[in-house]
């Protein structure tokens, strides 16, 4: 497999958890982790129609001399050949460019803030912008390394939800784990969701990959999300609806990510999924 996952290494216990999570993901999904050990506190990612500057905090630069060693050790323990990313171009002498044709990227919930600030329900603004402009799904790791043993896809019917669903199929196919689909039923009926699947010609895949389709009808979100297994990789789409609608009603992604602590794989609007 020549698919690659970008990981930005932080040489700290917290960073170790994140890297372990990335390695686990890579092994399940059969991608190669590519590790970037930052040498400056900032870097640029040039996407198709946006450029995002990522400002790291100083903890990313801590004890640089051992960073390479630590990362290599973790990777080798997992039996993965260490691959490191070395930026080729620099926008300014302290501002390296990181190219963006990776297939996945792993992020902590917040790239730039201190670990004390990382709580549930908080996704840093830069992680958001990466999700919004990236052509790859972003893996937002749980704070502590946790193996996941099944896949849970949230499907709400938007274009991005279809992408998330297809990505779920793909991961299911590669990793061979059980895939459950969850739908938060709001005003529409269960049949209307099923009709959406029929319209998109995904029935065959649905029956082939999906273990069970849950329709969550409880009153509160917390109750609903209790049904999601704690050890599942949650795949969901972000920014699926129109800007205005999100502005008024809030995004479903926000609600979900603030309630559960699973590993999240978030699909942005620029990602096009292939099963």
């Amino acid at each position: 497999m020549n698919h690659q996952l970008l990981h930005i290494f932080r040489n700290s216990p917290l960073g170790r958890e994140t890297l372990l999570q990335s390695i686990y993901f890579s092994k399940q999904v059969k991608v190669t982790p590519v590790v970037y050990i930052p040498k400056f506190t900032k870097f640029l990612m040039y996407f198709e129609n946006d450029v995002v500057q990522i400002d790291l905090d100083d903890s990313y630069l801590m004890s640089q001399d051992t960073a390479l060693e630590h990362a290599t050790e973790l990777l080798e323990q997992a039996g993965v050949e260490p691959r490191f990313f070395d930026p080729k171009h620099y926008t300014a002498s302290t501002l390296p460019d990181i190219h963006t044709n990776f297939d996945y990227m792993s992020c902590p919930r917040s790239i730039s803030d201190l670990s004390s600030k990382i709580g549930l329900g908080y996704i840093g603004p830069r992680v958001r912008r990466i999700v919004k402009s990236a052509q790859f799904p972003v893996l937002i790791t749980s704070p502590v390394y946790k193996k996941w043993e099944s896949i849970a896809v949230f499907f709400g019917g938007s274009v991005n939800a279809f992408n998330a669903l297809k990505l779920g199929f793909r991961i299911c196919r590669i990793s061979g784990m059980l895939l459950d689909v969850f739908t938060l039923v709001e005003n529409k009926s269960q049949e209307s969701y099923e009709k959406l699947i029929t319209d998109e010609d995904l029935e065959k895949e649905m029956s082939r990959y999906v273990n069970k389709w849950h329709f969550l009808k409880n009153r509160t979100l917390g109750e609903n999300l209790y049904d999601v297994p704690h050890n599942a990789l949650v795949v969901l789409g972000a920014y699926g609806h129109h800007l205005l609608k999100t502005f008024v009603f809030g995004s479903k992604m926000e609600k979900i990510q603030s309630t559960i602590s699973n590993n999240l794989l978030i699909v942005g609007p620029n990602y096009t999924a292939v099963i």
């Binding site: 497999m1 020549n2 040039y46 129609n49 500057q53 171009h89 002498s93 302290t94 205005l244």
Partner: protein, 576 residues
């Protein structure tokens, strides 16, 4: 709802889909106005700061003021907006070369503030480069907002730069020429038209808000033939001055980097030194437009020694300010140094040939400015048009062209890359459209991979291999490990041709024995220029592309030529 969505994608409207020129012109008006506004804001800021500090000029401790300003500006850039190091304009050209002009939103205001701090407090720098960056970033972000493509975005970046220069100098043609000559580097009507419009918009904004005035108006000059001859000497002098300035800037940059101190301390040291010079020669402080005005009017009544000293001092002060980490551009210092150089030259002439009636010293000051701008930027057209417009002196056009041309040429001999381009050229980032480097950087390895190779395994007999050769269209066969699928080596038909016709070897030779294991491989993320360099160095026609020890495909010069040519055709055709 639908309208709300679609107005952000104007490029998809039916009227703009087939021809986006009209769209670009409309957006160019917005971009030009915004960047014009940005430069007016900076101008006002500088004026306010100048008035604040003007009354303090006579205190002895005033020399720390530039230090405080420079330190604050450096802190602001480093800690608040977290801009990378570097003075900005190269960053714009870099982004235009490599990333379709994508610029960060923060660039659209960061340098305005930091340069206001540096220059307002007395640092010797100019406000032009900061407004160019701001304008360019505004253009880029407006393009981003409307989801325009790279080509349109690059044009709008140029529009922003043009609007900014036009507005700050009240010089539309100079703005237009600067954007095309320095920022975009491509003279095509698709670019020129929107940029011209943006220049008009920028100039108009500045005229509405600040009034229509020529920055450095002057009396009429009567230029004789002798004066034109004397221009040659002036050109040499300005070329020398610009090379001195370039070298000194780089030298200062180098020693400041060796100093083990935070950036803001370095900036403060530089500022302090400038302040000290300023105590004795206040002419070197700030952007110095007031001095330019006096010199052009011929009212700068100092002797040769003083003028010469001030010239050197201004060069040193500029190098100290910018080289040690202050924020600002070299445009304004160039104008001042040019003026001073012109004045020095005039005094020398008057001393050597007192009997000749030379033209007014203001004229030489004016020509000096053109010489220095042309020499530093190595953009003769920008120099010529800028000076003509900011002085309103069309009658000096002939000597102006001579000085600009000679100065550019001389500087080019000694410093092959202009001040802005120096770093870009060093790292191979200056990729003008239609050049080899640009075509190669646009293409990437994954577009050139040919996948119709048949893989073989190392334990295969030559006999079995021959039946594979029959089916294959290619001369190369990758050898893979049976179990892991790892790439082991490659078989090139040329290498084994002699064995192919020897039936005795068919059942005795394994492919593992005849494959070439020491092959240069390509990673799909490699730069194509490097790949070609490797091919040329090893006289290869094809190279295998390998990721993670797995063979992906082949990259060959034949296919490369095909793609290269198409890319070049699409990039350079003049019909659009």
């Amino acid at each position: 709802m639908r309208i709300f969505q679609s107005w952000r994608y104007p490029a998809n409207w039916t009227i703009f889909r087939l021809d986006d020129r009209l769209l670009l012109i409309l957006v160019a008006i917005i971009v030009g106005s915004c960047s014009g506004l940005a430069s007016v804001v900076l101008n006002r800021l500088l004026m306010v700061m100048f008035n604040w500090f003007h009354d303090l000029r006579h205190y002895w401790w005033i020399f720390v003021l530039p230090a405080i300003g420079a330190a604050l500006s450096s802190l602001f850039l480093e800690k608040v907006v977290k801009e990378g190091a570097g003075h900005g304009v190269p960053e714009v050209i870099y982004s235009v070369s490599r990333y379709g002009g994508l610029l960060r939103f923060r660039s659209s205001f960061s340098r305005l503030i930091s340069s206001a701090l540096t220059i307002g407090s007395g640092g010797s720098a100019g406000p032009e480069a900061p407004v160019v960056i701001s304008g360019a970033a505004i253009g880029s972000n407006i393009a981003k907002y409307f989801s325009l493509n790279d080509r349109q975005r690059i044009t709008l970046v140029g529009c922003g730069a043009a609007g900014a220069i036009s507005s700050i100098f009240n010089a539309p043609i100079a703005g237009m020429v600067f954007a095309i000559e320095v920022i975009i580097g491509e003279w095509k009507s698709v670019n020129i038209v929107p940029i011209a419009i943006a220049s008009v918009a920028g100039t108009e904004i500045s005229r509405i808000l600040q009034g229509n005035q020529i920055p450095f108006s002057h009396r009429l000059f009567n230029i004789s033939h002798m004066d034109i001859l004397a221009c040659v000497g002036l050109a040499v002098l300005t070329a020398a001055a610009s090379i001195l300035l370039t070298r000194l800037l780089r030298f200062m940059d180098k020693i400041s980097k060796k100093l083990p101190a935070p950036l803001w301390i370095r900036a403060a040291i530089g500022g302090c030194a400038v302040g000290l010079i300023g105590l004795f020669l206040p002419e070197v402080l700030g952007k110095g437009y007031h001095e330019v005005q006096t010199m052009i009017e011929g009212a700068f009544s100092q002797g040769l020694a003083i003028v010469g000293l001030v010239t050197i001092a201004k060069i040193v002060a500029t190098a100290l300010t910018l080289g040690w980490g202050g924020s600002g551009g070299i445009f304004a210092p160039c104008l001042v140094i040019g003026c001073l150089a012109g004045l020095t030259y005039h005094h020398c002439l008057a001393l050597l040939w007192p009997s000749v009636s030379w033209v007014n010293e203001g004229c030489f000051a004016l020509l000096g400015m053109a010489g220095l701008i042309s020499g530093m930027l190595q953009a003769p057209l920008t120099g010529i048009f800028l000076i003509v417009e900011i002085t309103g002196g069309y009658e000096v056009i002939l000597p102006l062209i001579i000085v600009s041309a000679i100065s550019t040429t001389l500087c080019h001999y000694i410093e092959p890359a202009a001040y802005y381009m120096k770093e870009l050229v060093e790292y191979g980032h200056l990729l003008r459209p239609g050049t080899d480097a640009r075509v190669l950087s646009d293409l990437n390895v994954s577009e050139l991979i040919e996948k119709d190779c048949i893989a073989v395994t190392q334990n295969m007999l030559l006999r079995d291999f021959i039946s594979i050769v029959k089916k294959s269209h290619r001369n190369y066969f990758p050898v893979e490990d049976e179990e892991t699928g790892h790439f082991m080596g490659i078989i090139h038909l040329d290498d084994i041709r002699q064995y192919l016709f020897n039936p005795v070897m068919y059942d005795t030779v394994f492919l593992g024995q005849i494959m070439n294991t020491r092959v240069e491989v390509v990673d799909p993320d490699d730069d194509l220029a490097d790949v070609i360099r490797k091919m040329d160095a090893n006289r290869l026609f094809s190279m295998p592309v390998v990721i993670n020890n797995r063979f992906i495909g082949l990259i060959s010069k034949g296919n490369l030529l095909d793609q290269y040519r198409r890319e070049l055709m699409v990039q350079t055709s003049q019909s659009v």
